[in-house]
Assembly symmetry: C2
Homo-oligomer: 365 residues x 2
């Protein structure tokens, strides 16, 4: 049984609480002899700045480079509103994505039947929803240069960000989308704004050519990103896999997550390219929700998104699909039995704490 | 009674049908002696390309420059999927916005009580919704240079778009938002991604400074654009006026429009700066919906968004607030009486044609 190197970066806010529940799950798998993990722990975000004056230290970056998978909690909070820009909590996450080459961000948006009523959408619109957003994560306007604010002669300023994409960057993310669609309902919707952006024109051309060359068995449709956001609200079940650039993915995946009413429950995976020598790929797993500073430390956080992120790690990084199924099954069982943290409990109904939810999932395993 | 120069650019698809209904309204106002309009007509979009080999001709651009207001229908359709990029139908609209300096795009998202059930959202989430998106329309990634696709040495390509904003551009759009908030519920939510984009940093700084200087009586909140999209789905009534850049505005306004279930009903106004000499501002009014080629020519289109856009012209370009109220009142009356085009009729219920809806509104005036 291989030993897996796992780096835990709990971060800020509710990050440490939800990460604590994953640690219990990891112990359980080890005790059952179902996996062997060596855990490292590091700091990221505001807490890293407080300790190292950087949103992630060089030492922790090194650990991340060496790990088989990184589990990331959440970063940020009002405490760090005024730290220097390059040290803001998010900079730690962005550096991890970029330096580890995690170009493929997988964001499932699943409406758990038990929670359909928590959505702001009508039940018939979201019941049974299961879509996957495949977001490019290391390019686009997030990282393109120039990216700066310059002071003009009259004292006013000009801000610049640069949206850049190469054929190669577009091909590799779209290939991930096509491959995943084959394991699902076999449809890819590619979202861009080719009517306004040159990167959109290149995106559309590239995905069309890749499809014709290698993925004719998969259905491909093109949709303008603004229309895609609209269609997600109107009738999201028309989608299977949506592939898009970094910035559109940021917004579309948030819309998709909110549709499901399961925001505190959605995991995500960020994957790098496969190393041809070892067959391994770098990976980071994180909940879709943020650090929720307002409820931090109160035992109110829902650990399911974090635990589900560990299930994704089992599946994508550790080749342990069965263990992942088992963990996801345990989550479903616990929900089916009516166990709820406050965010997903009916108003006035009983709710369990973060720890109790973690314990219930361990018990259901 | 001043004579108003109105340029009609019906465009493609359902554009001409819905514009036809506005012409009836214009005639009615003239016959009643409530307004005097000189109408010009021009071509834009695919039909302009077919005629002039350009998405808008120089002659029609000149008419647009001279008009007190432009009424724009919709552009595009599968027929023009392969025209050269610089002549694609949207290029006509983008040129009008840029050359007329229409930096302020006002997109109300109103949930008509009679239509609340048409939304995919739960009625309690959208009933009574009345928000206004103020979108910057002549800057950002839509127009920044470089904007190109270059071929690299290895034959692959790189696409580039440039997001650019100056302090002045941000100030003038945010001032519009603050002024409009004062006539509404006095709250502005400024949406950007300062955690990732330098233009977002400048945007946040600039709106904060402008608020402190001139609009302290208005409530200002900052929201990340991805979170704003989420919050629009979760609980849109938290918003009054949302101000944002061109690209975020494109997406957020589509989400907001779809929430209301009234997509075929929402008008928009695009305004330029006030000319200090004449007190006039250039303006273009258009429905939020597109050219809907699939239903074009069938009498199925809902003309309310186009007619509502003329109401906005009465209010913002012709200083005829009372006439605008009257026209909007007529629309509400017709809806209240149960008159419905197919897009807003209950499944299986009787629906009227585009022309019948236009006639009903004239009658209700
Ligand atoms: C925290 C922030 C930098 C990040 C992003 O914009 O990518 C977040 O919104 C996300 O979607 O993971
Ligand atoms: C047609 C297109 C160029 C346009 C835009 O992207 O601005 C449209 O989506 C809109 O919102 O008016």
């Amino acid at each position: 049984m291989a030993n897996h190197k796992l780096l835990l970066l709990p971060g800020d806010g509710i990050g440490p609480e939800v990460m604590g529940q994953v640690e219990k799950i990891v112990s359980w798998f080890e005790k059952q002899g179902l996996g062997s993990f060596s855990l490292e722990r590091g700091l990221v975000g505001g807490i890293a700045y407080d300790t190292h004056k950087a949103a992630i230290s060089e030492g922790d970056m090194k650990l991340a480079q060496e790990a088989d998978a990184v589990l990331f909690g959440a970063v940020g909070g009002p405490k760090w509103a005024d730290v220097p820009y390059q040290h803001r909590p998010e900079a730690g996450l962005l550096r991890l994505r970029k330096d580890l080459g995690l170009f493929a961000n997988l964001r499932p948006a699943i409406c758990y039947p038990a929670l359909a009523s928590a959505s702001s959408l009508k039940p018939e619109v979201v019941e049974g929803l299961d879509i996957l957003i495949v977001r490019e994560l290391t390019g686009g306007v997030y990282f393109g240069e120039p990216k700066e604010i310059v002071t003009l002669e009259d004292g006013s300023k000009r801000g610049v960000d640069t949206q850049l994409y190469t054929t190669g960057e577009i091909e590799r993310i779209c290939a991930v989308a096509f491959e995943l669609a084959r394991t699902r309902r076999n449809k890819v919707s590619s979202a861009e704004k080719h009517n306004v952006m040159k990167t959109g024109v290149l995106w559309k051309q590239t995905v069309t050519a890749l499809h014709a060359k290698s993925y004719k068995d998969v259905e491909l449709e093109h949709v303008l990103a603004d229309n895609c956001a609209m269609q997600l609200v109107r009738w999201p079940k028309q989608y299977d896999v949506i592939v898009c650039d970094n910035l559109f993915g940021d917004i579309l995946s948030d819309v998709a997550a909110m549709l499901t009413g399961s925001l505190g429950m959605l995991p995500s995976a960020s994957l790098g390219a496969e190393d041809p020598a070892t067959g391994k790929r770098k990976a980071l797993y994180e909940p879709v929700h943020g650090s929720a500073p307002d409820i931090a430390g109160k035992g109110l956080a829902n650990p399911i998104a974090m635990i589900g992120s560990f299930a994704m790690a089992l599946r994508y990084s550790f080749g342990a699909g069965e263990a992942a199924d088992r963990l996801e099954g345990a989550i479903a069982d616990v929900l089916g039995a009516g166990t709820r943290t406050k965010d997903i409990a009916a108003p006035g109904a009983n709710a369990v704490s973060t720890t109790e939810m973690g314990d219930a999932i361990v018990k259901a395993l």
